[in-house]
Symmetry: C2
Subunit: 183 residues, 2 copies
C-alpha cells in the first residue's frame, strides 16, 4: 500500500510518500517540503502548494492520503494559514478520488514513538528507524509528513482479519492505549 | 467590470456576481448559496464547494474576486471550516488568473451601509437598494456575498483618475472614514 502523508503549513508543507508491505514493513519513496515566502500574496502561496501537491499525487499515485488535523486552539498566528492549506489539500485529494484520513498530532506521536507527548527529535529518530534510514529526515516537516503516513499504515486494518497482528501493529496498539489513558 | 463576491462558509457559502458600469452603477448578474450537509466528510464538502465555485467562475468570467477575510478570533467552532473554504477559493481563483482582494466584515458593512457595525438586515436593505432589487436577497449569505462584491466595486479606483468621484464613491469614502474613526 502506498501512502502520502501531509504535514500542512503555509510557510513549510511536508509531503512524504511511503510503501508498506503486507507485513507492515515500510520504505521511503519520496519526501519533500514545499516552501512559500511570507511576502507573496496568500492566493499565490496556496496555488503553489496545490500545484506541488497535485504533481506528487500524479507522479506517485498513492492509495491513501493521511493529513494532520488542525485545531483552532493551536497558535493563532499560524493556524489560519494551516487551515487554508489543509482545505486545499482535502479538496484536491477528494477530487482525485484519493481517500483521506486525518490524525491529531498526539495520535501521530503515539503511533510512531509510543508516546503522545514525544518531542520532534524522538519523532525523527523513530521515523528513521521505521524506514531504515541512517538519520532523521530534515527538516522536521519532512519527518512529520512521513510520521503521519506511518500512522496511517499502522492504523489501517490488515487485509486478512484472521491473521494475527504483526509485532509493529501490537506495539502500536499498546502505544495508542497508553496515549488514550494520558488524555 | 464584473465582480464575484464570496462569503466563505462550509455549511453555506455565498457566491454573488455583479456588473458595475463606469459611473459606479451596479446590477445583479447571479447569486447563489452553496450548501453542504455537516454529516458529509470534510473533503467531500470542500470538493463540492470548489466544483460549484469553478462553475460560476467559468460561466460568469469575473475580472475580480472579492472575498471576506477570516479571523482566528471569530467563533472557533466555525472558523476552521471557513478558513478551509477560503483557502480552496483563493487557490482556485489564483490558478484561474483572477485577481483576489479580501475585505474584513467591518469594511464590507461600512462600504454598503456607512457603518462598520451595521446588522444583517441593514446590509440586506442596502444591497437591495444598490442593485435596484425590490427586496433583500435571501438568505443572509447571498446578501453578504453581494455586499462583498459591492465593497470591491466601491474601493476599486475609477479607471480615469482625472474624473471626479461619483456620488456613490464619495458616500463610500465618507462612510469608510467614519468606520475607521470608530475602530
Amino acid at each position: 500500500m502506498r501512502i502520502l502523508g501531509v504535514d500542512p503549513g503555509l510557510t513549510r508543507c511536508g509531503l512524504g510518500v511511503i510503501d508498506v508491505d503486507p507485513r507492515g514493513a515500510a520504505r521511503l519513496v519520496f519526501v519533500d517540503v514545499v516552501r512559500t515566502p511570507a511576502k507573496n500574496p496568500l492566493g499565490q502561496r496556496l496555488a503553489y502548494i496545490l500545484e506541488r501537491f497535485e504533481t506528487v499525487l500524479a507522479h506517485h499515485d498513492p492509495q491513501a492520503l493521511a493529513l494532520e488535523r488542525v485545531f483552532a486552539q493551536d497558535n493563532v498566528a499560524s493556524v489560519m494559514g494551516t487551515a487554508q492549506v489543509s482545505g486545499v489539500i482535502l479538496a484536491a485529494a477528494t477530487r482525485a478520488s484519493v481517500n483521506v484520513e486525518t490524525y491529531t498530532p498526539s495520535e501521530v506521536k503515539a503511533a510512531v514513538t509510543g508516546s503522545g507527548r514525544a518531542n520532534k527529535a524522538q519523532v525523527g529518530v523513530m521515523v528513521a528507524r521505521a524506514l531504515g534510514l541512517t538519520q532523521a529526515p530534515e527538516p522536521a516537516d519532512a519527518a512529520d509528513a512521513l510520521a503521519i503516513a506511518l500512522t496511517h499504515a499502522r492504523r489501517t486494518p490488515v487485509r486478512s482479519p484472521s491473521r494475527p497482528a504483526t509485532q509493529a501493529q501490537r506495539q502500536w496498539q499498546e502505544a495508542e492505549s497508553r496515549a488514550r489513558a494520558q488524555k
